[in-house]
């Protein structure tokens, strides 16, 4: 992690846009599905055709309130506003957003490191169309023409604006990661940064020490992963410090993060200041959720990631290591902790369940597929009871996830993973020892490293069917 020189301190605020997991767009009945053929999910409303009128999506409102409540925001009567600008990503020449009366007012987000970041607001707005630049070098500034797909225009968004409370790139990454986990937990978003479901912009400035006034800030766009968030902020803060140390000034501007080059560069070269001339959207009436509605939504919220991490920590008891803590963060971030709690409730040891879910299950699900909690629990019980070895359990799991479920015992049997009985294992051991008499003698005399050698031989002879733990126990027993 980069350190700023001397007494320099960075000041960072994040603006996070999240698409809402609705079936339709914010103001029309066009599908809100990612990845459709270009310009197939469009209608007079989202194309801004004359005479069309927007009507607000009730599901989008509910999801926006869920986000607000999860971030401890004040939910308030709100008004939609037109943000006016000429840019072809909005066919109307304005974007419907919220301005001075956002749905979700001031709130906060507590990070796993114990710090609190103020959430200034979390307002509703519509997404823009997707522009692609053609011609020239194919790069942004070299483009001659652009093409626009309006499938995304009008997709419901919530923009979550943090206060300027963040003081390191690492803390910014933590904030984005925790927010992402919360968005997934509320069911408001799938949190897929690579698909643009969650997009992060960072406002970065630097100053000399915590008591100095804020410096001039730059807004960094195109942060498409948590890693980009951290790298870009570190880079930008250092760039500003070097400018100021050289006696130059920071220009307030929007900069684009180039992940491959590892640097930011000026995005907007126009001098024209932002002047969006917001005014109340005359085609929409105010949105004022009732206390009853807000209470009902609050009651329906599931436990948030911080509480779920505490639950898993409780299951592990006093034996928590740093690796466990990482696994806990990882399974909660991926919404997989329900597998661990289900296994623990069935009596499976928490460390085993946590390890298999954080590593093998997360990996298998990442390749596509799904699994019910009960199926995972049965497989973990089989492994814990020694019915299958660790290696075999992983192979069974991969098959189960790929098939979307199934009976773990049937899969194990079909793969020939039936546990060897003790007699068969003894016979194999006899043969292996006879073939490697010298090695066996050294092992008996105390060369413990050879235990692995013999286990390997037994595994090879049984094609992995033997249980490693049983082999080890047998070896120790025979050595006396």
């Amino acid at each position: 992690m980069a350190e700023l020189p001397d007494d320099w301190e960075m000041v960072v605020g994040l603006e996070v846009h999240t698409e809402l997991a609705t079936s339709t767009k914010l103001f029309c009945g066009c599908s809100n599905a990612f990845g459709g053929e270009p310009n197939t999910n469009v209608c007079p409303v989202c194309l801004g055709l004359p005479g069309s009128l927007p009507v607000l999506n009730e599901k989008a409102v509910e999801l926006a309130i869920r986000i607000g409540l999860a971030l401890h925001c004040e939910i308030a009567p709100s008004v939609f506003a037109r943000k006016n600008y000429f840019y072809p990503d909005q066919p109307k020449d304005y974007q419907i957003s919220q301005y001075d009366k956002p749905l979700n007012g001031i709130g906060h987000l507590d990070l796993p490191d114990g710090t609190r970041v103020v959430v200034e607001r979390a307002h509703m707005e519509e997404d823009t169309g997707k522009t692609t630049h053609l011609g020239g070098t194919g790069r942004i500034h070299g483009a001659d023409e652009s093409i626009v797909d309006y499938n995304r225009a009008g997709v419901p968004l919530v923009e979550i604006v943090s206060g300027p409370d963040i003081r390191s790139a690492e803390q910014a990454r933590l904030y984005a990661a925790e927010l992402r986990a919360i968005l997934i937990a509320t069911g408001a978003s799938d949190g897929r940064m690579e698909e643009g479901s969650m997009r992060v912009d960072a406002n970065v400035s630097v100053r000399r020490g915590p008591d100095a006034p804020f410096g001039t800030r730059c807004e960094i766009k195109n942060l498409n992963s948590l890693r980009s968030v951290q790298r870009a902020i570190d880079h930008e803060a250092l760039r500003q410090v070097m400018l100021l140390e050289a006696g130059e000034t920071v220009t307030q501007e929007t900069r684009h993060w180039d992940e491959d080059a590892g640097r930011t560069q000026t995005l907007r070269s126009k001098e024209e200041a932002y002047d969006y001339r917001y005014f109340p959207e005359p085609d929409l009436v105010p949105l004022a959720p009732s206390d009853e509605q807000i209470d009902a939504i609050r009651a329906s919220l599931p436990p948030m990631p911080a509480e779920r991490r505490r639950t898993l920590l409780g299951l592990l008891g006093d034996s928590v290591t740093e690796a466990h803590a990482d696994q806990i963060s990882s399974v909660v971030d991926q919404d997989l902790d329900r597998f661990v709690t289900a296994a623990a409730a069935a009596g499976v040891g928490a460390p085993l369940a946590l390890a298999r879910v954080a590593n093998e299950l997360a990996g298998a699900l990442g390749d596509g597929g799904e699994l019910e909690e009960g199926t995972m629990v049965v497989l973990l019980e089989m492994e814990e009871a020694g019915e299958v070895s660790a290696t075999q359990a992983k192979a069974v799991l991969a098959d189960l996830v790929a098939a979307g479920g199934g009976d773990p015992r049937a899969v194990a049997k079909a793969k020939g993973f039936e546990q060897m009985d003790a007699g068969a294992l003894d016979a194999v051991l006899d043969a292996v020892i006879a073939e490697n008499a010298d090695a066996w003698q050294r092992y008996v005399e105390g060369d413990d490293k050879l235990a692995g050698f013999f286990t390997g031989k037994v595994m090879a002879a049984t094609k992995g069917q033997a249980d490693g733990k049983a082999v080890n126990a047998s070896l120790r027993q025979r050595r006396g």
């Binding site: 007079p44 009730e58 599901k59 823009t128 053609l134 797909d149």
Partner: protein, 102 residues
Amino acid sequence: MSEPAPLSADDVAKVAVLARLNLTDEEVERFTGQLASILGHAADLAALDLSTLKVTEHPLELSNVLRADEVRPSLDRAEVLSQAPAVADDRFLVPQIVGEEG
């Protein structure tokens, strides 16, 4: 309440740029007068004590007009694109833009 600065020809020229209007000097001068008179009327209203009145967010006395989250058919793409001045790759073709790709 303090008096806002009077509207200048520069203000009008700036608003014209934001609204993509090409105004002649003569038009800027004429509209500066007209806009100043409208803003003067707004200033008269702002001078009234309205602290006891409820803010009118919208001329209609309605709130929470919502629709169910149900997919309805979209338009036919060929029909949509037939209305565009220019098309490429099933998308609307527009002049070069300086700005972000998104």
